[in-house]
Amino acid sequence: MNGFLVTHAPALLIMLPLIGAFAAPFIGKVSPKVRSAWVILIMTLTTLTALLLASDVFMYGTRIYVFGAAAPDLAVPLDSGGIPIRIIFTVDAMSALMQVIGAVCGFAVLLYSLSADRIHSGLESFYTLFLLMIAGIMGMVSTGDLFNFFVFLEILSIASAGLIAYRIDGGLAVEAALKYFVLSTIGAMVILIAIGIYYGEYNALNIALIASRMQFTLLDQIALVLIITALAMKCGSVPMHFWTPDAYSMAPSSVTAMLVVASQASLYGLFRVVFTLYNVTLNAMTVGWIIIILGVLSMVVGVTMAIPQKNVKRLMAYHAISQTGYMLLGVGVGLAVLGNQPLMDSFGYIAMEGGIFHIINHAMYKGLLFLTAGAIFFRIGTYNLNKMGGLGHSMKYTMIFFIIGALAIAGIPPFNGFASKLMIYESVFAFNPVLAIIAMVVSILTLASFVKVFHSIFMGPKLPGYETVQEAPVPMLIGMGVLATIVIAFGLFPQAVVDGLIAPAAHALADQSGYIAAVLGGA
């Protein structure tokens, strides 16, 4: 039974949220409580499947799943001329890590959402779109097929746009969703053009097959730029980040927390294309520096734009941009020295591990921070920092969760953000000290910004109008507690996390030949 589940887990990760999504409106007709139980069941099963598959991948290596084949691992049929003709999911350690991030965050956010969003109407479509978002994320990080990647990217974008516009809010949320959707559609079309270029050149859509044939011609260079910019825009990199504060601030907080994970799925796509599709065929130093510069711009502009914000979610959205910069910086440094084994061993892998570690850490603490902002909005009905104050008297647990998230994002020990930032600082310093200094200054500004937020929301006397404010409901606290526990645990046992999850992911990402062999090697 266990073997069967592991074998079919890549397909189940898509199937479960899809079935859950389309059944949710019908089950909701029975009763809202039954629908809540249904979506919790679906998300629990999805999370367990992701954990099961991840444990298998981290133990035994890359697992592939071929849709429609006689056997799930029959990538290249004997009569196909050596071409993997079917849709193939290729789950290596990097994919498995992203699946775990998506599933665990999705589970915690759903627990929170059942309480936070229960007062709103239209929950049938809300949970349908929520589960479609999960399916889109899982598909993007699992697939080994470029066109399939585009399809899941579109599923994710459409579901995300619907959820951003969910709380109409006088048309502002709809406007934010429209902006997100316009940019997402243009980005997706550009990615489709790039995929068309690969298909025209290599007569293939499978990532492993294209990677094995990659010539890095002029057309490949054009396709590379199209994909880098589209996915950098989707993950909120400066100067293509403008949609992020609009969308993050107008979406319900539970959705915003998942938008962080959705952005990271795009970041995964960017890393997958650069490392697996191109790898050493490209000029790693030039492309690495492009990613580093995007990262530095994101870090600096993100944090400096966050400080003057008055809307707490808009402020956090700019910090999300800033933190994405750390991931781009770490992995960009790894890319810049790719192919130079002594430098890779000296600091390249550590930089990549730091960047990838920061992806999972950011998903947890940023998700936590957005949930605390949502809990505050749930009780006082505003995101305006100027109207807040003294809430620490009545929302003690929310305040504690906020402190944990704020210290983690600022890189204060012993929380998880410190561990990944330390890896980035030290490895980037070996590459270029100026970059490391910028990263540290950005962390100081992040701390300054969250000191302001903490003071504005929680400190001071109880303000008029907030005397009767109560603590957030228990399910919301449980959702925040799940993420806070992970933030603390990853901070207290960082090397165990790096050894168990992060290092295998970084090495899988850099190991193009291993990826190709996992798909084509069995032919």
Binding site: Q221, I290, T304, M305, L422, F493
Partner: protein
Amino acid sequence: MDLFASLTTGTGFWNPLAWLIAVIAATVIVYLILQRGEPGYKKGTAQTTPFISGNPEPGKEMVHVRASNLYWGYLDALKGYYDLVVPAHTGVVNDYVLWYLGVTAALMIVVVVFI
């Protein structure tokens, strides 16, 4: 897998357990110093009210420093920078698309010319 292993960073290491022990030791020292404080301290008396040159203390809700009043010095010092960056965030989707297309064009030139 050693759960309490130090995090190695290539050139250094970090052990959260050692940090925690140090924090606990510091907390104990702080507590011991606190215990040696003035035992006659009474909350809710004149001992705990601020002295503002003899003026009456305003209501607590009147003295809460709001978000807009924080970091004005920092923002003023970087006014030149913010005058450039903030207006770029127009909120107009056409501008968002232009930035995206501009970056794509710039990277296209860099990659195609320099690679």
